[in-house]
């Protein structure tokens, strides 16, 4: 299979004039797929260590909170009725996985590739450009979310917690959420000087979303102002949409939520490309 990456338009750039920020978008090419392939090969090589154990984590959450806490709580208010806690919580755990898998791939793992292994330097010595690398990393981050969530979806289906055929929509939702958080991860990676400094955005942004985005408890029980804040967080929309797909019903703010997520993803991806290029090319 041959993937051609076309050169940008031939035009003389005036002496000393740097590239305009928007010109990076035209520099992405199908060769980005080779970066995706390379990451997929590493993934296959290290699957036992990198993929299997983290999948067990949601199982523990479901057992501990779902069965453990669920035996105390029994049901939670959702959309004007009482929903068994486990049925509420399982889609929330999948949503959290969407966020974690893509975000951590394009932060810590990407940083190791970029800075410690110098993998990007190796790739840039070939017909690929920096923009191909960034795009490849972005799509790969989302791919990890989709892979993990697909397996988890099968898992919760075995417990009767997924309503088919609507549950199949979890896959594209995981893809969209994966693209969003992969882009947010790349933005962070473009900004932190050292790997230790990922702790700050992770604690300030990711962790609050993990807890307060309607993942482990319905946000409706929070005070009104907190509910408004929660609906600004992207994970709230993702968990709401995934919950709708798993329960087989239309979630609140569905179309607005999808539109919001798509817009945010496009903006984040654009910003990620510009900022990562700025970091990688001096």
């Amino acid at each position: 299979m041959v993937i051609r990456g076309a050169d940008e338009h031939e035009r003389a750039r005036p002496k000393g004039e740097p590239m305009k920020w928007y010109e990076v978008f035209a520099r992405v090419s199908p060769l980005a797929l080779r970066v995706w392939q390379r990451n997929a090969d590493v993934f296959r090589t290290t699957i036992l260590v990198n993929f299997i154990p983290p999948l067990l984590e949601p199982v523990l959450y479901i057992v501990a909170f779902g069965f453990g806490l669920g035996s105390l709580i029994k049901t939670v208010p959702y959309q004007g009725r009482q929903l068994p806690y486990l049925a509420f919580m399982a889609p929330g755990v999948i949503s959290v996985a969407v966020m974690f898998w893509s975000y951590f791939e394009t932060t810590y793992t990407c940083f190791v590739r970029m800075y410690y292994q110098r993998t990007f330097d190796a790739i840039i010595a070939t017909p690929l450009l920096v923009e191909d690398v960034i795009a490849g990393e972005w799509i790969w981050g989302a791919t990890k979310s989709v892979m993990a969530c697909s397996i988890m979806l099968v898992g919760i289906s075995c417990f009767g917690l997924a309503h088919w055929p609507s549950a199949v929509l979890v896959i594209p939702l995981a893809g969209l959420g994966g693209l969003l958080f992969a882009a947010l991860g790349l933005i962070t990676t473009s900004l932190v000087p050292q790997i230790e400094q990922f702790n700050l955005p992770t604690f300030i942004i990711i962790f609050p979303m993990f807890l307060f985005s309607g993942t482990f408890f319905p946000i409706d029980i929070l005070p009104a102002w907190a509910v408004h804040v929660a609906w600004v967080l992207p994970l709230t929309h993702i968990s709401s949409l995934i919950r709708g797909a798993c329960l087989g019903e239309v979630p609140p703010h569905m179309l607005a939520g999808i539109g919001y997520l798509v817009a945010m993803t496009l903006a984040a991806a654009g910003l990620a490309l510009v900022l990562m290029r700025r970091r990688l090319v001096k």
Partner: protein, 309 residues
Amino acid sequence: MAETAAPLPIEATGLIKRYGSFTAVDGIDFTVREGECVGFLGPNGAGKTTTVRMVTCFTPVTEGRARVFGLDVSIRPREIKRLLGICPQEDNLDPDFSVLKNLLVYARYFDLTGPGIRDRVEELLALMQLTDKIHANIRELSGGMKRRLMLARALLNNPRLLVLDEPTGGLDPQARHLMWQRVRSLRANEGVTVLMTTHYMEEASQLCDRVILMEGGKILLEGAPPALVEQEVGREVLEMWDYPAEVREFVRLASWRFEETEDRLYVYDRDRGRASEEIARRFPHQERLIRQATLEDVFLHHAGRTLKE
């Protein structure tokens, strides 16, 4: 006529690279001709690696122009890199892959897939004496082996121009000699054009048809190593250490060319050893060493400092 002549591997004019207020490369012109091995020789920070990074489309040119095989580095980076084999200063092999997988994945970036590439990989590993390591993980390789693997990788796409940035930095003498041997045999058997950088004058003397001495972002001078040495400092150098000030004064008054570093005095005497005799007569207890002049002496003479900081 100019239009029908094949484009030069590298043609750079007025090349400038600035990082903010710092100028790393300060307006240099140079060419590399087909089949040549050209080496940029200079201390760390001279601008050699930055120059190479501009030519290989790693970093944008601030001012000036560089053409590789007639293609402008600012306009046609992908096509240029298809023709290049780049071996950077620091190893960047994939620690998750075996030697074989590293090469296959790298070849894939050039759209080189299929059974033919496996043969090419084996051919290159044999050339670099790494055949028995084909399935080894990268972590099992020594520093010298990793360098040879980096060189093998740079040759996967049959490049027309091989770019080596400090090819033997940090290697032990045996590994360095093996590496030089490989590069020399590549040039002898396949006529590969080479652009390299180094701060080891011995390496430049061993490998390069032409050296370009660089310091502080500028080119000091260039030429074929033996001719350059002969022309700039002569054949022999008289080296002295632990000397009193009178010795230096004596040398100065005798109008012999000399250079002085912190602890050494070098006298360049074109008069076949007369300086040594006269110094021996005047200062019989002064230790003296007469040795061949090298590129190090040329550099010292022109830059006022040694290649090693």
